[in-house]
């Protein structure tokens, strides 16, 4: 619990700094980006695009390659559904994002490798997406923000018939509204 709060507050700070500015990676946001981005602009321009920017603002962090939130995939071992420790920070970061952006919605697509029945594989993918949803809600995201679904074996990211490939296909992808 204590560890969770730690990361939580760190993430909220990070978000605050992002939210005031258009975007920019958390690491560079404070000084570097600002002066270069808007040298002589009048503030009158901003309100016009406000609605769009308000929506785009939290999502910018999601797309920033330097932000952990840009990472969206969680991989699973064969016949396993538990979220491995190495993905804990990623899931925690997304939980915080959802907590602090109550309007944000997430779709988790679970996937399975190609072996066996297509419908049973829909079940396996669902078990994986449900697993990540459960961790996210335990970490404070609201149940209504998250839909966990399964694509079964239908959308492999890797199409060869080898264990290397299958491992890439035993995967959850986290998508935010507007991304699917």
């Amino acid at each position: 619990m204590r560890a969770m709060f730690c990361v939580l507050s760190a993430a909220s700070l990070l978000l605050l700094s992002c939210a005031t500015e258009e975007q920019k990676p958390a690491a560079q946001a404070p000084v570097e980006g600002k002066p270069a981005a808007q040298p002589v602009q009048t503030p009158a321009v901003k309100p016009v695009e406000a609605p769009k920017k308000a929506a785009a603002s939290p999502f910018a962090a999601l797309k920033d390659p330097n932000n952990i939130l840009s990472k969206r995939s969680i991989y699973f071992d064969f016949d396993k559904f538990d979220v491995k420790a190495e993905y804990r920070p990623l899931v925690e970061a997304h939980a915080k994002f959802l907590r602090e952006n109550p309007s944000a919605k997430m779709l988790i697509q679970g996937n399975a490798d190609e072996r066996g029945s297509r419908e049973y594989n829909v079940g396996l993918g669902q078990r994986r997406s449900d697993a990540v949803k459960k961790v996210l809600t335990l970490l404070g995201a609201r149940e209504e923000q998250i839909e966990s679904v399964s694509l079964g074996e239908e959308k492999p990211s890797c199409s060869e018939h080898s264990e290397d490939c299958w491992a890439k296909n035993r995967r959850d992808d986290m998508l935010y509204s507007g991304e699917y």
Binding site: S117, E119, Q126, V149
Partner: protein, 419 residues
């Protein structure tokens, strides 16, 4: 398996045409003489040759090679049975095609039992030019039923999904792959098509909304409606025998669980409750039981439960992966996919003797589907990295393959008898 013949059926609508190849046949095939129908060249493709192809494809008949006959016998000819016996025929089919003044055609035939030296009946059809193939299949059904005692499936249709690149097409074709038509094209996957008992609609799962959603699609007018699009995944539809309701798998309450729903999408209610994956429901023909796949015991196995709900009983015990249950039309056997080592194959379980037989020698089989007379099982498999359809008889002897050069074929569903 002996390769008997390779038949390629060329159709006018050449897109993604399935071709059929017979790779095994029954041990005892009825020798039948099918005389080219008099005048059949006025009505292509030839009725007699379609009937012959149908009967040979069933694996139960052997069409005899015949010399040119003058005069050509027809349904009106008095048959000299001794002459046909000398040609080693057990049965004889004769007929004629005549164009009528109104441009339509009349096809007549008569079937003879050469061994018993008696006619077995005949029919006269009036048809339009484009009904030649359908008429020939009707004749095949007649011959098949008279000589084997069971209904033929030559007039039935199949559904399957073709994947080419990123494009998915749900297609409907004659049982032999001819006359393929696309019912639905999509850039997202389509799986699990199942025919309504009246053969007029298909239920299936489409991923066009980036998640599995169950639809019902009326084939004649192309109208479709959502049956189940609840939060989470919606999949694995199965019709009740009366066609009014479906069993579906929903994750809306967590996990993959069995629910019942009306065909219009109303009246959803939970059917069973477990912490496992419960999926792939199928009703027994009498509607009293539901067979389904569940991993409640640690590995995926097939279970049966009362359709009204109740305690499931395990049905499969051999092996660690038994999925995709399909009950035969007579309710006596269960086809399913079993994993042996790394091979996925079609198995058939006799529900009274508990005996299991592996029917296929392929290794990536999926989605078995009984023909409506229960004799054949259509399935998807992979040959040379390409998805193909294959059919095997319930006794494992007769084998056929349907493939298309244009892409991967998968998710077959054999339609019901059409009245």
């Amino acid at each position: 398996m002996i390769r008997l013949l390779a038949l390629l059926l060329f159709m006018p609508a050449a897109h993604a045409q399935l071709s059929i190849e017979i790779t095994g046949a029954g041990a005892q095939r009825i020798p039948i003489a099918i005389v080219p129908f008099a005048g059949e060249n006025t009505l292509p493709p030839g009725v007699g040759s379609i009937v012959r192809a149908d009967l040979e494809r069933s694996g139960l008949f052997r069409g005899l090679e015949l010399p040119p006959l003058t005069p050509e016998p027809t349904e009106a000819t008095n048959i000299n049975y001794a002459e046909w016996r000398a040609r080693l025929a057990d049965a004889l089919l004769v007929g004629s095609v005549q164009q009528r003044p109104d441009g339509r055609f009349e096809v007549r035939f008569r079937l003879h039992d050469v061994v018993k030296q008696q006619p077995l009946g005949g029919i006269a059809y009036t048809l339009n030019k484009d009904q030649a193939r359908a008429t020939a299949h009707r004749i095949s059904d007649f011959v098949y039923e008279k000589l084997t005692g069971e209904k033929g499936v030559f007039s039935t249709r199949i559904a399957y999904v073709v994947k080419r690149g990123n494009r998915y097409e749900l297609q409907i074709a004659d049982y032999d792959g001819a006359n393929a038509e696309t019912a639905l094209a999509s850039f997202e996957p389509i799986i699990s098509p199942v025919w309504s008992p009246d053969g007029k609609r298909l239920a299936y799962v489409s991923f066009e909304n980036k998640k599995p959603v169950v639809y019902i699609h009326s084939l004649s007018d192309g109208r479709r409606h959502v049956v189940a699009n609840f939060k989470g995944s919606n999949s694995a539809p199965a019709w009740t025998p009366d066609g009014n309701r479906l069993a579906v798998v929903l994750s809306r309450e967590g996990g993959s669980q069995l629910f019942m729903i009306n065909a219009d999408g109303s009246g959803v209610r939970r059917l069973a409750s477990s912490t496992a994956i419960d999926t792939e429901p199928r009703f027994s023909p009498d509607g009293q039981s539901i067979y389904f796949t569940s991993d409640r015991g640690g590995t995926p196995q097939i279970y049966r439960m009362p359709a009204s709900g109740g305690e499931p009983q395990r049905v499969t015990f051999e092996g660690s992966y038994n999925v995709s249950p399909r009950i035969s039309p007579d309710g006596k056997t269960l086809a399913y996919i079993t994993r042996n080592d790394a091979k996925f194959q079609v198995a058939l379980l006799d529900l009274s003797t508990r005996q299991v037989q592996i029917l296929t020698d392929s290794d990536r089989d999926e989605s078995p589907s009984f023909s409506p007379n229960g004799r054949m099982i259509l399935l998807a498999t992979v040959i040379g990295e390409r998805g193909v359809l294959s059919a095997v008889s319930a006794d494992g002897r007769v084998k056929q393959r349907l493939s298309t050069a244009a892409g991967d074929v998968r998710e077959p569903a054999w339609g019901p008898f059409i009245e």
